[in-house]
Amino acid sequence: MLIIAAIQAALPLALLGNNGKNVQELIRQLGIDWKLLIAQIINFAILFFLLKKFLLKPILGLLEARRQKIEKSLKDAERIEKELTEIKEKREDILKNANQKAEEILGEAKEIAESRKTEIINATKKESEKILEEAKISIEREKQKLVDEARGDIAELVILATEKIVKEKLDEEKDRELVKEVLTKIES
């Protein structure tokens, strides 16, 4: 077979001999042709640039964009969660504050109501006492007046009766006795 012959013939000569002709023969046997070599290099270069332009650049860009998008979404999610917790905390705080304030207000209101109540009760008591006192005084005065009037009336009656008795017939002695008796009665 040619391949074995070629290797047998070419390799030792190329490796051992320093003859340029043998190297050329080896290169010919291996089929190395500078025109083809350059063609293959150009092929590779074309493939490299086309692949870079049409496959790698757009897809790498896309992958990068997607990576950034995912990163951003994750960050956003984290931020939103944080905000949510903050809001929850705030809401709880506000609720707690409101409750406290309401209780405070209620307590104050109770206190005020209590003090008003005692005030009103006191005032009423005082008023009623005053009225009672006044009534008593007025009753007393009325009573005194009545007594005075009655005393006047009685004295008049006594004088009238006395006069009547005296007019009928009365001696000195009897008169004196009578007056004495009346006076004693009155004094008692």
Partner: protein
């Protein structure tokens, strides 16, 4: 059976020789580019179909090379060249198992071992089984690495890796580095060429010996070898790029 190391010359375009491997390189390029166009024709933020596949491929590739390069920025910088190597080589390698390989072609009279013989010139031959193709890739890989190194650490600093007069040890280390760059060219090109060419010959021989069923495991093996070689080529390029661009 007629097997040559050199690709078969098919026809000329304006005195430019077109070989079957060059033709198949164009086929491979057309396949990759049509995939690229299909994937990125209508980009949607919610990927579907081809776009989804392309995205998965690119993301997997990026995630794979990022820990090797150490940073996302470097990964994005070197990803295009590495993925181009990988795609072109893997498609080229897999063209090897295409049915009709080595059997569709034209008969031609050629001179073999001093006498005329009527042989079949196959239309289909994997580009990777042509040393022109693999050598071209190796040249691109090595020169791209050198330029990236110069761009990353500066011309003088990068040059001092190869030519250094600080001490005799440094001088010889530099010489060895210089030789190793040439060795890289040879190892890159011959590794890929040897694997795929051998696979191709194996498939042809097996096909001649037992045309049905028996070649199946060999086809599977060649698919695997094709994948591994593409991976090895692109990963070695990546590692050399990493070494060249890091100022140690």
């Amino acid at each position: 059976m007629h097997i040559t190391l050199a690709p078969e010359h098919l026809f000329n375009i304006l005195s430019f020789p077109v070989t079957n491997t060059l033709l198949m390189t164009w086929v491979a390029m057309a396949m990759i580019l049509s995939f690229a166009f299909m994937a990125s024709r209508r980009l949607e933020s919610v990927p579907r179909g081809v776009q989804n596949f392309a995205e998965a491929l690119i993301e997997a590739g990026l995630d794979f090379i990022e820990p090797i390069l150490g940073s996302r920025k470097d990964a994005l910088k070197f990803f295009p060249i590495v993925i181009t190597f990988f795609l072109l080589i893997i498609i080229s390698n897999w063209l090897e198992v295409l049915p009709g390989l080595g059997s569709i072609g034209i008969f031609e009279e050629v001179e073999v071992d001093g006498h005329q013989e009527r042989v079949l010139l196959s239309f289909l031959r994997s580009p990777s089984s042509d040393l022109n193709f693999t050598l071209a890739l190796a040249l691109i890989s090595v020169f791209f690495t050198q330029f990236s190194g110069i761009a990353a650490v500066g011309f003088l600093k990068y040059g001092s890796r190869y030519i250094s007069f600080k001490s005799p040890v440094d001088f010889f280390v530099g010489l060895l580095e210089l030789i190793s760059e040439v060795a890289k060219l040879i190892s890159f090109s011959f590794r890929l060429f040897g694997n795929i060419f051998a696979g191709e010959v194996l498939l042809i021989v097996i096909g001649v010996l037992a045309p049905v069923i028996v070649p199946l495991p060999f086809l599977a093996l060649e698919l695997f070898v094709g994948f591994v070689q593409a991976l090895v080529f692109s990963m070695l390029t990546l590692v050399f790029l990493k070494i060249a661009t890091s100022s140690h």
